[in-house]
């Protein structure tokens, strides 16, 4: 499953849903809102149609590059508090090395190319998180 959602992400349900009989290893990356110097909440926005398409491209590329069986990516948008899951990436594979390698590949690509932005809200101000320049599209 590839999606952009406004709902709470249920990691446990997604991991169970990702399982297939041939998988010996599932690596899950959960990106969460970090309390980084007084952040109270963040707001995420996406260019949704393009973001979904870009996530699908990344999944397809990972499936070509690594001997893995599945890729699921859910990215949350909207208003999130510290500790909430922003991003969940699950890679299922026969063996762990490939699952780890593909997970890192997917997250690195995602941060470069998927049109999503974050604004951090502090007690006394707010700021847009600077993005990674270049590469996207």
């Amino acid at each position: 499953m590839i999606s952009i959602t406004r709902d709470v992400i249920d990691a446990g349900a997604m991991i169970e849903a990702a399982k297939r009989p041939g998988m010996g290893a599932l690596v899950t990356f959960c990106g969460a809102v970090r309390d980084d110097g007084g952040i109270e909440r963040i707001e995420l926005e996406a260019y949704e149609e393009v973001a979904v398409r870009e996530l699908e491209k990344i999944r397809d590329e990972a499936m070509r590059e690594f001997p893995i069986e599945s890729v699921d990516i859910v990215h949350r948008i909207g208003s999130l508090f510290v500790g909430e899951t922003i991003l969940l990436v699950i890679v299922g594979a026969g063996h762990r090395k490939e699952a780890f390698a593909a997970s890192e590949f997917i997250i690195d690509r995602l941060k470069q190319t998927v049109p999503i932005w974050k604004k951090e809200f502090y007690r006394d101000g707010e700021r847009w998180v600077p993005g990674e320049a270049g590469g996207q599209g």
Partner: protein
């Protein structure tokens, strides 16, 4: 003709989230950008430099596809096109 413009993040705060601009038939991307520069007004400096050129990190799309800097003066827009303009991405 009408072109839809989607702006995101800081640029959305400046331009609005979903606007429609009127352009003469046959207008190129550069024409749309100068209309956006007018809309941005006092805050246009965040998106454009002093000469009106897009700042280096600004990303531009037409109908979901990245537009190259070298195509700004030649890419002819069509009625109903969707132009997107945004700063570097920061998801994940």
């Amino acid at each position: 003709m009408k072109v839809r413009v989607k702006a995101f993040a800081r640029f959305r705060e400046i331009l609005g989230s979903d606007l429609s601009i009127d352009l003469p038939d046959g207008a190129v991307m550069a024409t749309a950008l100068s209309a956006l520069r007018d809309i941005a007004g006092d805050e246009s400096g965040i998106i454009f430099d002093e000469d009106g050129a897009l700042r280096a990190h600004v990303i531009l799309m037409r109908n979901g596809k990245r537009v190259k800097r070298s195509d700004l003066d030649t890419l002819v827009l069509a009625d109903g096109d969707e132009v997107a303009i945004f700063p570097p991405v920061a998801g994940g």
